[in-house]
Structures are given as C-alpha cells and as structure tokens.
C-alpha cells in the first residue's frame, strides 16, 4: 500500500490491476500472449499450407482442396483404423487398470504403498525408443524370444507377434500400459487422497460395502481428475507415434505400424509433401477435437462449470 504512495502515478494502474474485473485476465495473460506470439502464426500458416503444393521455398502453388480430396486413400483409411483401434484399447486399459491399482494402493490393505508407487513410476522415466527395442526383442520372431518361450510353457506354438494387427496392437498396448500405468496411478491417488476420510466412515456405518463405497464416494470424488486422465489418454491415443516407431520404425507390416501421425510424418518428411501433411494434421485435429468434445460433454464437463 505504501508503494503506490511512493510512486504516485501507479495508483490508477494499481487499481486497474486490482480491479476484480481485470484480475482474471492478468492471470490468464501468459497464455494469451504465448498463444498470440508463438502459436497463432504457425496455426494459420498450417491451415494455408494445407491448400498448397510446396516443392521448395520458391515453388509454392495454390491447389485448392486437392490435398483433402486425395487424402482418403487406402493407406489413410488403414492408418485411421489402426489409430482408432489403438486409441480405443488405450483408453479402456489405461483408465481402468491404474484406477484399480490406485484404489488398492490407497486402501489400508497394502504394505509399503509408497514403495510400490515409486516403483510403478520408474518405467515412465525411460526412453521409449530404447524400451521399444527391448519390447521388440521380447516379442520377437524366433521361438527363443521370451514371449514365445512363455507360449511354449502353455504348449502354444511360437507367434510372430509384431507381424499381425491384433497381436501387434496387443504389444503396443502392453508397452503403453507398462510406461504410463504409474503416471495415471499417481493422478488418481492425488484425487483419492483429497476425499475426506469421514465420508467413508459414514458410509461404513450405513453398511455400504467397498464396491458401493467406490461407486458412491471415490468415483464422484475423483471426477475432475478422471476427466483429466481420460482427456489426455484419448489425446495420447490419437497422437501415438513414438511407440509404433520404436517397434516398427517406418515399416508397416499388416497395417499395424502406421498411425495417422505416422502417416502425416510419412507424407511430410518421407515424401516431402508438407501441404498434404498439413491437411492430414488438420483432419486429425478435427477428429480428436470431436472425440474429446463428445467425451467431455458426456461427462458433464461443460455443464458443471456454468
């Protein structure tokens, strides 16, 4: 309060900054500035590029919607199918499994919970590419590959895991689960721990069993966190690329190796067609936006805040 007196003029400015109408905008200013300065131009530029054929810095040609019309070929549809299949299982597995683990770890029924939490998190810290090599070898072609040895224990014949869409997708999901389970567990636990324990006590007195407690207390309690987890998992599912590169590089056996982002990458860099890559990227953006919006509306996300 003294400072304003000393500097004189800023009183009005201070008042302005303290004006309750202005305060929220000060808080969000970093994002707005960031968006306008750094992302607005690339964003617009990408939209423009999707209507161009770009062969070099000095040969840019406007081609209307040709990129969009040419896009929907067999390869694109295959990439779309691969992405949807992966994203679906990704969301199912990565929302449910970590939630179960989080609930168990958060109950008083586990010894050393923080030890396990730390351990589960370690996979997230490793580089996907290196771990991809490990998984690629574990699910290798030969009967001596670890996964095939496991099959042999059950009398099953060796499998060429990464060469078929279903088993390939299975390995992908396993890799994702291995890597991200610990992260989602931590999100969930942060939500669970914020739920006051007296709610559970009261429920116990009312005779609620643990399933009922979970459905009526835990689940509503972690809703904001759940929304966050699902949203980023959907996003991660559709944007998946590194994992498939780690397992298949630029190869696409049986169509399993190439996601939409992979397809975009192929167009933009491998075939040097930036215009087409931009168009594919924008279609992907539209798709993810639609899926996420449906999910958020279904979860009552927008209703809650207004």
């Amino acid at each position: 309060m003294d400072e304003s007196a000393k500097t004189g003029r800023p009183l009005a400015k201070r008042n302005l900054l303290l004006n309750p109408k202005v305060v929220p905008y000060v808080f969000i200013a970093p994002f707005l500035i960031f968006f306008l300065v750094i992302y607005l131009y690339p964003f617009i530029s990408t939209i423009l590029m999707s209507f161009q054929r770009i062969d070099g810095p000095n040969s840019v040609e406007w081609i209307g919607t040709a990129n969009y019309q040419k896009m929907f070929n067999r390869n694109f549809k295959q990439a779309l199918a691969t992405t949807f299949r992966y994203a679906f299982w990704d969301v199912v597995v990565l929302t449910i499994v970590p939630l179960i683990f989080a609930v168990i770890l958060n109950s008083s029924n586990v010894k050393f919970p923080s030890f396990f939490k730390s351990l589960y998190f370690v996979p997230a810290l490793t580089s996907t590419i290196v771990v991809g090599i490990v998984f690629r070898l574990a699910f290798g072609t030969l009967p001596t590959a670890p996964a095939n040895r496991l099959l042999a224990l059950f009398g099953q014949p060796a499998k060429d895991w990464l060469m078929f869409p279903d088993s390939g997708n299975f390995v992908l999901i396993l890799l994702t689960l291995w890597r991200w389970m610990g992260v989602n567990i931590i999100y969930y636990i942060s939500g669970l721990q914020a739920i006051p324990t007296d709610l559970y006590e009261a429920a116990k007195i009312d005779g609620a069993n643990s399933v009922q407690q979970f459905l009526h207390i835990s689940l509503p309690g972690i809703k904001p966190v759940l929304i966050y987890v699902i949203t980023i998992t959907v996003l991660g599912g559709f944007a998946m690329f590194t994992e498939s590169v780690a397992l298949w590089a630029q190869n696409n056996p049986g169509g399993v190796g190439r996601t939409i982002v992979g397809y975009m990458y192929l167009m933009g860099f491998y075939k040097n067609n930036m215009g087409m890559a931009s168009a594919v990227g924008l279609v992907l953006l539209g798709l993810v936006l639609a899926v996420n919006l449906i999910q958020l509306i279904a979860m009552g996300f927008f209703r809650k805040e207004d």
């Binding site: 770009i54 062969d55 070099g56 000095n58 060469m163 190869n251 056996p253 860099f269």
Partner: protein
Amino acid sequence: MKKILAILLAMAMLASLGITAFADEEPIHLTLWTFQELHTQLYKEMLDRWNANPDNPKLDIDMQVYPYEDMHNKLTIALQTGEGAPDIVDIEINMFANYLKGDIQLADMNDIVEPMEDHLIMSRFNNYAKDGKFYGIDHHIGACIVFYNTEILEEAGINYKDIKTWDDYHEAGKVVLEKTAKPMCTWESKDCWSIYPLVNQHGGDWLTPDNEVRMDEQVVIDTLAFMKSMLDDGTAVACPGGNHHAEEYYGWMGAGGAASVSMPFWYLNRFTDYMPDLAGKMKVAPMPLWSDGGHKSAQMGGTGTAVVKTSKNVDVAKEWLAYATLSFEGCVATWQILGFDPIMTDVYGSEEMKAPNPFFDYYGDDIFDVLQGVLDDIPDTCLTDMFPTAADIVRNQMAYDLVITGLSPEEIAHNCAEELRDAM
C-alpha cells in the same frame, strides 16, 4: 658485412612473417551433416590429407552426426525455409528424389563429375541426377552378391561355386534342407532387400523414367513366383526380425541359421561387425543367374553426398568432395575405411586395394575377383520422384504379402501396382 647481415636478417624476418602469415591463414569453415557416424571416419581422413597439401585452401569441416530419419527431416525443413542447411550433406538414396522436386536446392556437380566420367561407374550417378545434372556423389556401387556359409554347405556336400543359376540355388537349397534341416536363405517380410535386388537383376523395376508403373509386369510376377516356391518348400523362410538388419537376424544367422543370404556388397561389414563367430566360414560369390535373361547383379542402396546451393562456399565444398570421393586415393580409402565397393573402375585390380584388411581375414582374399566378374553387367535403377512411394509399397505390402500373408504372385503384383497408381 653488417649491412648484408641486416638485410639477410630482415629478409629472414619477412620470410618468417610470410610463413606465419601463411600458416595462420584463416581456414574456410564448412558444415557437413551425416546420419552415418562411420562416414565421418572417411571424411576426417580425407580432410587431413587435403589440408596436408599446401596448395589446397585450408578447410575446417564441422561434421554433425544426426539420427537417420531425423537428419532428413531437419534437412527438409532447412531447405524449405531456405535457412539453416549445411554446406555438404549425406542423403539416403530412398530420400534423394524428395530433394529434386520443384526448385532444386542442391548444387549440380557436373563440373566435377564429367571430367572423371571415363573412370566412374556412371549408373551410380544417374540415381542422383535430374535433367542431365548430377546432384549427388555415391560412395559405393552396392553390387549385390551372395554370402554363403560354407560350413553348412559342406555339411550338405555342396560346393557353392557350382551354383550358377537360381534354379541351381533352389536345388542346392533342397539338399541343404534335407541334410541339415536348415533353410538355404531368408526373405525379408518388411523390407526391400530381398525382392528388389532379385527383380532388378531379373530385368524388372518399379517405375519407368516417366513414372509408368512396372510393378505388375511379368518379370515381377515370375520373380515373386520363384521366391514363393522357395518359401513353399521351406528352402527359404521368413527372415527372423523381418529384415536382414534386425538384431534377431544377426544373432540367428551368426549362429548358423541359414546357408546363405543375398545382399549388397556393403553388407560385408555387417558380418564382420555383428556376426564375428562366422569368420573364416563365410564366402562371397556372384548372384546366381536367371535362366530366362536378366543381368549378373543389381546395385542397391546408397548415399548421395550433395552440396547445398545456398552454401557460401559451393566451389571449395565441391572441390573437396571431389577429392574425398572421386579421386583414386579417396576411393581406395573408401574400401579401406568403410569396406564399400568404390565407384571408380580404376581401383579394381590395383595393388592398393590388396593391402591386408579385416575383410580379407574374414572372407578370404577373392572378394574382388567376385566383384570384378559382375561389374560389366549391372542394370540401372530408376529413381523418379515416385520412387519413395514405390519403395514404401514394396517394403510394407509386397514383402508382407509374399512372406506373411502368402498371396499369389499375380495378386501381389496387381495390388501393389494399383496402390502405386492410386498414389500418383
């Protein structure tokens, strides 16, 4: 006397000044990008030799090694924006056509290539050329040969030198399978190093120079049919790990998995590096011939080293590159350091190439006799701007459908050709 001494002294001082001035001459700085750390060993050697010659302008080359895919991405971005590109860059053969589109950002090298034309294997330069201009220099021919595991063949009572045609090869394979229970060879299921060399040697290719699709020609179908017949009777098996560069394959082959593999010449160092246990057992031989025509070998793979147009030192960069890659000593060093088959015809048969080296220890000393026998009949490959797309289809569809899905050769050729036409 004093005067003379003074003059002499002054002259000496001047001279020394002159010398120091010369020695301190600011070197020209160049940047070079590569995705293959091995290449920098050759470049460093050739840079030292260049700088040791006082007639040459001093060079200081900053060599940056990038991950394979990412270097090409970075180059694409740099060339598209017109800023940030290096002076010299290694571009992988499959990617090269991308940089020959529209307004070409690479410098043409006709002035350094044309004077040497009679000494070089020019078909290697056509891969990196457009409209009569050469934009890249390769380091090797990449002639395809066959690597035989003589231990397995001897067990089956076969002398690899008797295998002259692919039919002989197949027959030998049946004996090997029967006597040793091992396959004769492996076909890749997710890469092009099995199909493309065989098709190309047989006289086929994926495209014409005018981008007409050749994938469904009879020669492709026949080649696929031959490959399938070997898969069907077990003389060929799906390559463990999917291609001949997979860790699993190296381990399996190194433990005596298959009796042979057909790969380009540069595969020599994969055996020495990754399959040391086979030293002394492996022999190289020419590819078997097709009984219905075709060629003695095929040239596969490669790296086109290019100079970027926006470089401030295009001329000196080209001059050095010519020295490093197109000179006699550069080509000899390419063999000695990298184990590649150099692109200069003059080096073959020269004493310098016969100097002892780990490859002779591993394979015996007839490596170049094999190579020289096929050099006169290697077809061109047709690398148009659609080649990256064609290569992608071969890797991901043709190989997969042949080895894994097991479709008929006609179906495979037809589907792939349709796919390529759709992408035009």
